[in-house]
Symmetry: C2
Subunit: 192 residues, 2 copies
């Protein structure tokens, strides 16, 4: 890469698991993909989080993402941000809603304060979540000062939020990761 | 770039304006750099926002960033995120505070809801702002549902916030951009 750039690779296995263009017909099928991405990421040394951007109506996959914070040396590289940005760059627009396109982000865990903020400008119309923030916090992850009414704030901006899709399965990936001693990074370092 | 990746280039002129390693001794000198980056970005068709990551004590520059949303097809590519991620990748760590290092982010305008959220995980110890969010909003930019107590929430996590450094000069860059008809993108599209 040129020295003067930001670069976040996706591991090769990510799009082998699910190629862009594949169709995931319903919320559970889409969440199974996000959970599989999360689980496979932990098997390769990454964090227990996966996400995907799909066309809402058709279920056609646009892009996947996994947590790449450690691998890419980038605190921004949560699964949600990787999937959203990869989808935007694949479609050649910063706005996934361009021309009336309706996309959703399916994520194995509810967004932290960073990803919550990133959702507003991505142009998605839906957010589908598996594990709750409380499940990530139970494993030691810090979700940050996300507003209590975060889902309502997204809805008010035209982003429909669906929670608890296969929550138990999604939470298990996070719990297994923590139990196996995976790093629970928190670069904030200030008083939690 | 490999197909399966996220990539955000910095324009070549950005590090010609200020090379990593250069020293900016005080808050005003650092803010002048952020404002110069913002102004120069508009001259090249980008948004009116610039940022830099520096070592707090020495003022040694680690990385600069400018808004690359349109150029990179990436809604995440606000100046703050570009500067923080570039600094992390240059230092080879997702945590700018690693080993007790104390860095600050100097930004020509207060963070929007997205960049506010991104600050918590970057490992910075200080945030220095020029223009207020109200100045960006006056030009038509949408800052999103950032908590009213955003600066306190950052302070509570060990990130010291300094506001209104050369505010008038920083706000002028944004106002000039809007007056010249620069695009005020807002992919959210929902009810504002």
């Amino acid at each position: 890469m040129p020295d003067s750039a930001v670069h976040i690779d996706l591991p090769g296995w990510a799009e082998e698991l699910a190629a862009p263009g594949a169709v995931f017909p319903d919320a559970e099928a889409r969440m199974r993909l996000a959970i599989l991405l999360a689980h496979t990421n932990t098997a390769h040394g990454g964090g227990p989080f996966g996400a995907a951007v799909l066309e809402r109506a058709s279920g056609r996959l646009i892009a996947v993402g996994v947590n790449r914070v450690l691998a890419a040396n980038a605190s921004i590289a949560h699964a949600e941000v990787v999937a959203l940005t990869r989808a935007q760059q694949r479609l050649g627009t910063f706005d996934l809603g361009e021309g009336g396109r309706e996309c959703e982000l399916v994520t194995s865990a509810e967004p932290c304060v960073q990803c919550f903020g990133a959702l507003f400008w991505a142009g998605i119309r839906g957010l589908v979540c598996g594990a709750r923030s409380a499940d990530a916090e139970a494993a030691g992850f810090d979700e940050g000062p996300k507003p209590a009414a975060w889902a309502d704030l997204l809805s008010a901006r035209g982003i429909e939020v669906t929670r608890d899709v296969l929550r138990a399965e999604a939470a298990q990936v996070i719990a297994d990761y923590a139990a196996s001693g995976g790093p629970i990074y928190n670069p904030g370092g200030g008083p939690a």
